[in-house]
Amino acid sequence: MEVTAEKVREVFTRVMEKQVFLFAEDQDAAGMPEGGDWVEARMAFRGPMGGSLSLAMPKEAELELAANFLGKDADDPEVAACAEDSLKEILNVVCGHLLTAFAGEEPVFDLSIPKVHPLSQGDRNALAALPDALGFDVEGRPALLRFHFETIEG
């Protein structure tokens, strides 16, 4: 199984458009603007291969994503309360679609429950520097995605 950055980008872009009506365009992961409060959602999967998926973005991007997911204005109090959950859900949907895109429809994977935590500038730089990290411009806001997998022996 060969994971290509192009295919990962295509799946992410499609899910963002269908689920939260946002347009994600390619950007260099190393060229992300500095500063701002970021969050990272992470989850793991296990099946014929194991691995993890991370999605990181500034808090404001997370809020816009949640507003679109719920179909509400970004300043609605319910949106802030649901922001973390919305990011987890997008990660979950992207993960499901990446697994089908790369492993096909036969294998069965178990997915972990996604978790969200704040991401410091240092951790963000470290994430962006990883060879499989992909950068995006989501309607003027940056985002980082990393789909990492390893083959399980036996």
Partner: protein, 158 residues
């Protein structure tokens, strides 16, 4: 009476003998909204997805963009007494026309933003004919609330 909707334009009516029509929808979006109880409706023809690319233009003519156009269109119908619950929405257009680089797909983005606006306003799409590469003519008959499409000479109800 036949009421013609231009590009980046919206028309509405509460007169049963009116038919509202727009011609040659390409990558643009045509959206009809009709209140089945109040019997008012209209048709908007928007060109581009998001108004944030040119706020001044959106201010001057909200119907150029889908986000500002759908909001302004809904407001007009609500002012006429239309209710969200009884509004029937039909969408057409959004043909896939590539730009010269062959990457940017305005029709697909237009489809995405019309879905976003209707989701935000709790309005289900009851009929849809989008994508492909054909131009479409779309009309709304105020007497019946029927939306009809004409594609390459063939008519069909949406």
């Amino acid at each position: 009476m036949k009421i013609i909707v231009g590009v980046a334009d919206m028309r509405f009516s509460d007169q049963a003998d009116d038919v509202i029509i727009t011609y040659s929808l390409g990558s643009c979006i045509g959206l009809t909204l009709y209140d089945t109880e109040r019997r008012v409706g209209g048709l908007v023809h928007c060109m581009l997805p998001l108004s944030k690319i040119d706020a001044a233009k959106a201010e001057a003519n909200p119907y150029m963009f889908i986000d500002s156009g759908v909001s302004a269109f809904l407001q007009k119908l609500f002012d006429l007494g239309a209710q969200r619950k009884t509004l029937v929405a039909k969408v057409a257009g959004g043909s896939q026309i590539m730009d010269d680089k062959g990457v940017f797909n305005i029709g697909e983005r237009n489809n995405t933003v019309v879905r976003k606006m209707l989701w935000k306003n709790n309005i289900l799409i009851s009929g849809e004919d989008t994508g492909g590469s054909v131009p479409r003519t779309m009309s709304l008959d105020l007497a019946t609330g029927k939306t009809v499409l004409k594609i390459q000479g063939t008519e069909k109800e949406l």
